[in-house]
Symmetry: C2
Amino acid sequence: MKTFYNQDENYVNEMLEGILSAHPDMLKKVNGEIRAIARADAPIDGKVAIATGGGSGHLPVFMGYVGKGLLDGAAIGNVFASPSMNQMLTLTRAINGDKGVLYLYGNYGGDIMNFDMASEMAEEEGIKVKSLLVTDDIASGEKGNESARRGVAGIFYAYKVAGACADEGSSLEEVYNTTKEALEGIRTLGVAISPCTVPGADKPSFSLAADEMEIGMGIHGEAGIRREKRKSADEVTQDMMDLLQADLPINKGRRSKYLVKVFKLSWKLFLYTSTLKHLKH
Amino acid sequence: MKTFYNQDENYVNEMLEGILSAHPDMLKKVNGEIRAIARADAPIDGKVAIATGGGSGHLPVFMGYVGKGLLDGAAIGNVFASPSMNQMLTLTRAINGDKGVLYLYGNYGGDIMNFDMASEMAEEEGIKVKSLLVTDDIASGEKGNESARRGVAGIFYAYKVAGACADEGSSLEEVYNTTKEALEGIRTLGVAISPCTVPGADKPSFSLAADEMEIGMGIHGEAGIRREKRKSADEVTQDMMDLLQADLPINKGRRSKYLVKVFKLSWKLFLYTSTLKHLKH
């Protein structure tokens, strides 16, 4: 992979230093722990605090959504690795106002283990915590086995719903219930055309032939549903819509058509952006 | 290049359709011309209108900056090609309120020819127009030959200054003079590590060896100052700062140090983003 950075081992911390220096009015590290980033004005009384966390390497997920109307803080792990229980607990203490903390994060083993431990520790300190897992990726678990599904791009909508609900002064239970209901209507699907190379690694995490794409690949390169020949943007969009609608049918005629249209247009926009990245690199 | 789109020839228009559909409250095409995009609320009386234009293929430059506090509209050409005089004139008519129009765009031959013709046509119709070229790229012209320099990333600051000045109700002359003064303090420099492939082309526009970078390359792949072995982020930052400071010295000790620091941190952030793009593709 051709890119710039300094020492591999400083990559995540230097990225965080840069972000903190660019936005000192919006973000801060808590208790000297650069892997626990909170809103500059945390803790906020009268508002449920929302925390997330996860590995680095896929910004803006997760810390890119810390801010007004969204998250109160994020714990940040190494590339594709969970942050530690201590980082989560440090963050929890720093963002807890007087209405408790919602943990809202993607369905990955390491994150679950550490957030569950942090939750227990926080409860022992008298901080009220509830946890919600995001499982929007239909490619990583069969219908009926939704709990196996990973959290990917759909986590943004969950953040937004939870953040708006918390901003209205709702209780922890209300923010939890509203966000849970929203999550039941969120489904996503990814398509990959090329692999990533983790900083420090000497080769990409996997390979895809020049004319291949993989439907349903996860954000760390987890295997998807199938590989096939690359298609046009419109064809890929239709395939994705078919899979999404089969998983969570939208039955009201006009609404469904509207959604397909919006999705197709979003997709074109995404494709354009994606193409631009190729143009630039 | 591995990416998704439909027919090459529909690439730019489909991108614009997507952006317009995503932001119907903010943007509109004017007179059915999708290559002339304006703020949805244009024309705005009491405010100088600011227009830009240029080729496609390097979003968010240029149309990504159409909006409140920034530009009133942009004319959009094909990939790396100037929009036509007619597209610029159509745009000019649509955004002109009662205080005239400032053309603010990058220093490229085709754009200059077409904007100059559009300016003459608009003046004949009684629309007051002034033009400012952005020439921030120190790599494309020697010191003393600034008029040879291309407009690149620094154009954003010119947009912001002009947009803020216009929002305050300044006259066309005031917006012109304020933006011109700002431009005299804007210098940028680019470093490239890989080429782009224009949609429809069968190979990248140029090649760079796996361990090479090019200092000063333009946004369309124009030759820079020199090629050399790739360095660490900190080393590249120092080299860039040395070139920028030699071109426009910053003499007040503390301010200079501060700028280097801010620049280094921005750079780290950029590098991180840049690296992410590689990770994702």
